[in-house]
């Protein structure tokens, strides 16, 4: 019995861990579906429509297909490294989830170095890419790996500096404490350090190898970069790692800049008369009710009977979610957990939507341009931003100015620096374009 009591503190983390590992591939699969649907919508077409209504079962079909595919290891590859490289990638991505607070009660471990832990662990994921590219023994893979290594090291610096600007405000490394700080301030950090958020957004796109920074896997140049020789489930694991990483960086951004699990207007409290229920807490339930209603409206318009049924099932699922969200309003113990989880996931999806939007709008950078953007623009800007935020805090502490106005001032100054950097870059480009005398 005493052993059980000793182990009790480990029970919840283990359950959370299992839940995350079990749900994450599914979530990643649906992020892929979301991506394809968003892409299709932006490109004047429909996207996957065959498997399930509006392609809702597509991720599952894809996963099955990949599982059943032949597993090919090239003859001259380094077999062991080739075998283990995708696992390194996906493990690093999954371990990082240990410190991400999905809700006030839903976190595997609230480490006091939470953010550093996530950064440290997710920086290990690069080995999966580099070693996989090297082990494949192919030029395309090797170049993808090299590009990836250079790109990650460069952009991690800028992204890390951007995170520090938020850390200055939160004055802690613990993810939970950072959210609490935003709750206490009544303001998400994105409004205090918008430039930091922007830098982190760009840096996180680069770190997850997404367009327009997807050079390690640029299909028009390197076929598939480090994944060229991979196929079947090993390839799927890389894919999973990429999407898991997307969720990790979105989680970091959500926690640091977007108020974590906090509801929008978390400090605005208006109750429904006669109850303790806040009006804004009704939003999630209403949202799912709306989706359910839309599905019911769509159901008769489906071409096949199975799809009609399926659409109704989706509607039922949404109703269930709406019910859970609504029911938790009545049970104060569950309210923060359920609603916190909802808002956290919602913010993650918004952030990822930003990724997708960028991907389908911009062409791809060239490698030297990518490096120049990172080193000549983002890192100086991140440094300027860091100094700006520090100065703002000092102004706030020593002169007694309000935190927000002082940060606004320094943000404007940093913006000036950004403009100067862009101008300098263009001037540099113009000078470089001049015919040189070949010195």
């Amino acid at each position: 019995m005493s052993t059980f009591n000793n182990l009790l503190p480990y029970l919840w983390p283990v359950i959370f861990g299992v839940v995350i590992v079990a749900v994450l591939p599914l979530l990643a699969g649906y992020v892929v579906l979301l991506e394809r649907k968003v892409m299709a919508d932006m490109q004047a077409r429909l996207g996957p429509m065959r498997v399930g209504p509006h392609g809702l079962l597509q991720p599952i079909a894809d996963a099955l297909k990949l599982l059943l595919k032949e597993d090919i290891i090239p003859e001259n590859a380094d077999h062991f490294l080739f075998w283990i490289a995708p696992l390194i990638s996906v493990t690093a991505a999954l371990v990082a989830y240990a410190a991400i607070p999905f809700g006030p009660g839903f976190q595997i471990a609230d480490l006091n170095i939470g953010l550093l832990f996530i950064l440290a662990v997710s920086s290990l994921g690069i080995y999966g890419i580099v070693l996989g590219g090297w082990a494949s023994n192919s030029h395309y893979s090797l170049m993808g790996a090299l590009r990836s290594a250079a790109q990650l090291v460069s952009y991690e610096t800028a992204a890390g500096l951007a995170l520090i600007s938020a850390l200055l405000l939160g004055s802690s490394l613990s993810m939970r404490a950072l959210v609490m700080a935003q709750q206490k301030m009544g303001l998400w950090f994105i409004f205090c350090v918008p430039i930091g958020f922007f830098i982190y957004f760009v840096g996180s796109i680069a770190e997850t190898n997404r367009a327009p920074f997807d050079l390690p896997e640029a299909e028009s140049e390197l076929v598939a970069g480090y994944m060229t020789e991979y196929s079947g489930f090993r390839w799927a694991i890389y894919f999973l790692a990429e999407y898991a990483n997307m969720i990790v960086v979105a989680g970091i951004a959500t926690t640091l800049f977007l108020g974590g699990w906090l509801r929008p207007f978390a400090s605005f409290h208006a109750h429904i008369p006669g109850t303790g229920v806040e009006i804004l807490d009704l939003l999630p339930s209403l949202l799912f009710l709306g989706v359910a209603g839309y599905c019911v409206w769509l159901a008769p318009r489906q071409p096949v009977a199975v799809q009609k049924l399926f659409m109704l099932a989706v509607a039922g699922f949404c109703l269930l979610l709406a019910g859970v969200l609504g029911w938790s309003l009545a049970v104060p113990e569950f309210l923060p957990a359920v609603h916190g989880g909802f808002w956290f996931l919602a913010k993650i999806f918004v952030y990822i939507y930003g990724f997708l939007w960028v991907r389908f709008t911009f062409p791809r950078y060239r490698f030297d341009q990518l490096m120049s953007l990172g080193w000549h623009f983002l890192i100086p800007l991140a440094l300027a931003n860091l100094v700006g935020v520090a100065v703002g805090i000092v102004l706030h502490l020593s002169l007694g100015w309000g935190l927000f106005p002082s940060l606004l001032l320094t943000t404007l100054l940093t913006l000036a620096v950004a403009i100067f950097l862009v101008w300098g870059k263009e001037r540099h480009a113009r000078l470089a374009a001049l015919p040189s005398d070949g010195a």
Partner: protein
């Protein structure tokens, strides 16, 4: 409490074993990339020991800087330069046996010294900040007591960096 310390010791042994075995493998591998990988695992083992000593900050810094940064660049250079040559070279010279014997002798000497004269060596007492966030402690130490050495080290690194840039860049 004893159970806790047993677990601690077990973890220490685990990480120490990883570190030592990786270090030996790193030296003995012929393939340079494999050597680099074992260097990485050795560094990870060291990071584990930091964690086991409850120095989480050092753990994180060790991983971010050494494993996530420096070793990536290391691998980068190895892959770029493609050192196939080493595969066809003699890995050790003729003195390897002498070196091994000397190393074993030195190890035995250390062991003997610890066993016989352990009482003469003073270990620092565990800090009062055990089980507390020690990031702040590190920060305070660096920016107050050890301000001068820290800044000197920074300047040294800066000089080294500028030197490297000048050496590498043919035309500024």
């Amino acid at each position: 409490m004893t159970a806790m310390s047993t677990i601690n010791v077990a973890f220490f042994d685990f990480f120490a074993a990883i570190t030592i075995i990786s270090a030996v493998l790193m030296v003995t591998r012929r393939n340079v990339v494999h050597s680099a990988i074992f260097l990485i695992t050795a560094l990870l083992g060291t990071a584990g020991i930091f964690l086991q000593l409850e120095a989480e900050f050092l753990f994180a810094v060790q991983i971010i800087l050494y494993v996530g940064g420096i070793m990536v660049l290391f691998l980068f250079v190895i892959m770029l330069v493609n050192l196939d040559v080493s595969l066809h070279q003699l890995q050790f010279n003729r003195q390897k046996w002498v070196a091994t014997i000397l190393a074993i002798a030195l190890g035995a000497e250390f062991l003997l010294a610890f066993r016989r004269g352990g009482s003469l060596i003073r270990f620092a007492a565990p800090g009062a900040g055990m089980m507390q966030p020690n990031t702040e402690l590190v920060g305070e130490a660096i920016f107050s007591n050890y301000m001068l050495p820290f800044e000197l080290a920074s300047i040294l690194l800066l000089v080294a960096m500028i030197g490297a840039v000048i050496l590498a860049k043919r035309r500024i």
